[in-house]
Amino acid sequence: MVKDNLGMFPILSSVFSDAQNIISIIASVIDIFAIVVIAVTIFTSILPLIKSTVALFLPFIIQSSSDRQTAQENCALRRRVLKANLIKGLLLALELESANAILKMGIFTSGLVGISPISSTSTFSINNFIFFVGIFSLRIALNQTIRRSK
């Protein structure tokens, strides 16, 4: 009946189709943003982290003795800062994924009530629902853990 109703309004049907395409494109772009954030964060955090680890465990690589001592003194502090930086970057990426999940949830509910031209069986699957619940639970749990560990 739902599809019949939309069939009576071909303009509406095409408008919904376009809207869903736009939202899907936005969701894909946000996915790319999240990937870029993860990549840049790992690249900017892992290399200095490896460098400081090398300075801590393999001190003979650093030639000057004064440099070696300074490096070892600052190493623990730097490692902590770099780890915090890495975690914050990954949390930012998770926030972007939450944004993505919110957008996809809009498409999901449209499919559920039948105002979407896409068949409701394709948009309404239990996998989508598990994805939303998983992302949000992960987000809330991670934030609570980080907050308590401060």
Binding site: M1, V36, K88, I102, L103, V113, N143, R147
Partner: protein, 170 residues
């Protein structure tokens, strides 16, 4: 004309218009409304995400310690955008309940709305905590207009701490 007919039908308490159900007439208009709200939410999320990415690239030249603080601020600014978009989406979901054909689908929609509300609550709590942290460290909170509220929160907190310490000493 159609809206007039629909309103007349509602006023008369009838369930049909010229043999068609009321839902048939309302459906496209509710559809347009929810479509507009969904698009608005999508635009808000897209702008917030783009602003967050831009700000993320901007802080890359800073030291790792400054980056850590700024990343938290960027994340919570993005969270504010998500909060606004979530409010739009909840409004859209409430409108969609008009169209749900069965109790089963209505219950699923209710669960989705529940998830959205829990997420909104979590986000707003996080932003408040971060603002309090910023105020404690003498920085400007993210929501400038709520500064007075956070100052009150801080005052209340100090008052409670003083009272508890007074109780302990007595």
């Amino acid at each position: 004309m159609v809206i007039k007919q629909a309103l007349l039908a509602v006023a008369e308490g009838s369930q049909s218009l010229n043999g068609q159900s009321l839902e048939f007439w309302i459906r496209p208009y509710v559809g347009y409304l929810t479509f507009g709200i969904d698009i608005a939410a999508g635009i808000i999320i897209a702008i917030s995400a783009a602003a967050a990415l831009f700000a993320f690239f901007k802080i890359l030249r800073k030291s790792p310690k400054e980056q850590t603080q700024d990343k938290e601020t960027i994340r919570l600014r993005l969270a504010r955008g998500l909060l606004l978009a979530l409010d739009f989406e909840v409004g859209s979901d409430i409108l969609k309940t008009i169209l749900v054909p069965s109790v089963n689908e209505l219950s699923i929609l209710a669960v989705v709305v529940g998830i959205r509300i829990v997420l909104s609550w979590s986000l707003s709590k996080e932003i408040n905590r971060h603002n309090i942290d910023l105020l404690e460290s003498g920085k400007q909170p993210i929501t400038g207009r709520n500064r007075a509220i956070f100052t009150d929160v801080m005052k209340n907190r100090h008052k409670e701490e003083e009272e508890s310490s007074h109780d302990r000493s007595s």
